[in-house]
Amino acid sequence: MSRIITINTRDLNASSKNGGCGECQTSCQSACKTSCGVANQSCEKTAK
């Protein structure tokens, strides 16, 4: 693909099959306390 570079990302559709364990950190506890963002959270199940 000469014009497109695709970056490795977690497949969100696949995560619907094995996600939802609810063990990751509560997002508002981490730093913000006034907004909501989840994209910077890490999954407890996927290995680095």
Binding site: M1, S2, R3, I4, I5, T6, I7, N8, T9, R10, D11, L12, N13, S15, S16, N18, G19, G20, G22, E23, C24, Q25, T26, S27, C28, Q29, S30, A31, C32, K33, T34, S35, C36, G37, V38, A39, N40, Q41, S42, C43, E44, K45, T46, A47, K48
Partner: protein
């Protein structure tokens, strides 16, 4: 749904529902933007003269786009409506508590959402007995959750330090038998930070949030003591010492910017230059009548500031002198699953705030709002509490009307319920001003992330 944007020399295509990210050249960028609503002939007619390419070039690019589409990485369909409906019916169990161990503060910051620590109510400290019961309440109601989060919050939690220590000790004494792992965090203004506090935090606190607004004149505009004296000179040396001893354990230096410092990147750079590397800076959320409230006129300035921050981070990263900005952190390969991305912070369902007297609220932002008193840790949720919990359970990235067509909804998970409530009068509302800033931050976050792509980061389809 796709979202295409440009940042300096980067052309980025985000495929919303697969989470895929593509870096593309100008030709592919224009073709992808046209692809869904144009024929091959229309694409050729528009792109050939614009970019001085051949029909064969266009056909090759279209073929690549279709290969990515077939691999589920471009124009992926939205399959998550069902999950969103399931989440509304889910039986929630408790996972996190914001323990308000002190409804009082040794600073007197005029912009404080907690009304200088007492949340527009009575001042007070949480007793050990109340805190202990709160931890028991969390464990009793935590169901299948193994990891539980407890944040010591206030007011200023170090004004009740002995109780904080006792509660950590208590939590540690019971977590194993309950098959739980409690992650304690602490948010502090630093005034009472001592060597003893530092040592204890480094031993026991999973994360510590340190409050500083940046440059001395900015910090000391709001972050003053009861006599009006600025806190910068007291807290900065303490924070530096704390971070030095913290090693590689998590912390965040967190500030708030207001209408008075729309050039807030200078405050972030100042923090970085002081030696702090884990940084967060939040836009103030306050009544529009407040002089510190951000205005519509501020918005373009803030957008430019976020871009400036991204460029400076890219530069410092390349020089080996980088820092982390909380809102630009993206874990692309091991980030949150789709359930988390839809359901969000868990306020009112998995996450509750506890006052010094044991009263329960959906989160720290609702404390002392009588409508949102949910019950207490002794008797559990009241009828009103159960009703309100249901109200929160109905809120997710798919139920908020304002999120319907937003490309960033799987990054903010529908936004902060408290901001929606204060902005539109409903926890199902949105805070559009915050949404605009959020979308800009995600674009900038991606720009930073994509500035250091290596061969290992690139997807190669199997042949």
């Amino acid at each position: 749904m796709i979202h295409c944007f440009k940042f300096d020399d980067k052309n980025v295509v985000l495929d919303v529902f697969s989470g895929s990210i593509h870096l593309v050249d100008e030709v592919a960028y224009d073709i992808i933007e046209m692809y869904e609503n144009s024929t091959r002939e229309q694409i050729i007619e528009a792109i050939v003269p614009k970019h001085n390419v051949t029909e064969a070039d266009i056909d090759e690019c279209i073929s690549d786009i279709e290969a990515l589409r077939d691999a589920g990485k471009l124009f992926a369909p939205d399959k998550y409506e069902g999950i969103a409906i399931d989440l509304k019916k889910k039986k929630y169990t408790l996972k996190a508590l914001c323990l308000h161990v002190a409804h009082t503060c040794n600073l007197n910051c005029s912009y404080c959402f907690a009304a200088q620590g007492n949340f527009n109510g009575q001042c007070g400290l949480m007793s050990y007995e109340v805190g202990k019961r709160a931890i028991d309440f969390l464990i009793e109601n935590s169901g299948h959750h193994h990891n539980l989060d407890i944040d010591f919050f206030g007011g200023e939690p170090l004004m009740n330090w002995e109780v904080v220590k006792q509660l950590v000790k208590y939590g540690r004494s019971i977590e194993k038998a309950a098959n739980k792992n409690i992650r304690f965090t602490l948010t502090t203004n630093g005034i009472n930070l001592t060597d003893e506090v530092t040592e204890f935090c480094n031993e026991e606190m999973h994360n510590v949030v340190l409050s500083l607004d940046g440059r001395k004149e900015v910090n000391d505009r709001f972050r003053v003591d009861r006599q009006g004296r600025g806190s910068y000179d007291i807290i900065v040396p303490k924070f530096q010492e704390f971070v030095k001893k913290r090693g590689d354990k998590s912390y965040y230096m967190r500030g708030t910017f207001t209408h008075f410092n729309t050039d807030f990147t200078n405050d972030i750079f100042h923090m970085a230059d002081l030696g702090f590397k884990e940084l967060s800076m939040e836009p103030v959320v306050t009544s529009p009548e407040s002089p510190s409230a951000l205005t519509e006129e501020d918005l373009p300035i803030l957008m430019a500031e976020y871009e400036k921050l991204a460029r400076e981070m890219i530069k410092r990263n390349s020089e080996g002198n980088g820092f982390t900005f909380y809102h630009y952190m993206l874990d692309l390969t091991c980030g949150p699953c789709i359930y988390k991305r839809i359901s969000g912070c868990g306020a009112g369902t998995e996450y509750l705030a506890v006052t010094p007297w044991g009263d329960l609220y959906p989160c720290h932002q609702f404390v002392n709002d009588p409508q949102y008193k949910l019950g207490d840790i002794f008797e559990g949720l009241s009828d009103n509490g159960k009703e309100k919990r249901n109200e929160f359970a109905q809120c997710n990235a798919y139920t908020r009307e304002g999120c319907k067509d937003c490309w960033a909804k799987l990054y903010c998970s529908g936004g902060c319920a408290a901001n929606g409530y204060h902005s539109q009068g409903s926890v199902a509302g949105i805070y559009e001003y915050g949404c605009k800033l959020f979308r800009k931050r995600i674009e900038c976050a991606l720009a930073v992330k994509l500035s250091s792509v290596t061969e290992e980061d690139i997807y190669h389809p199997e042949n």
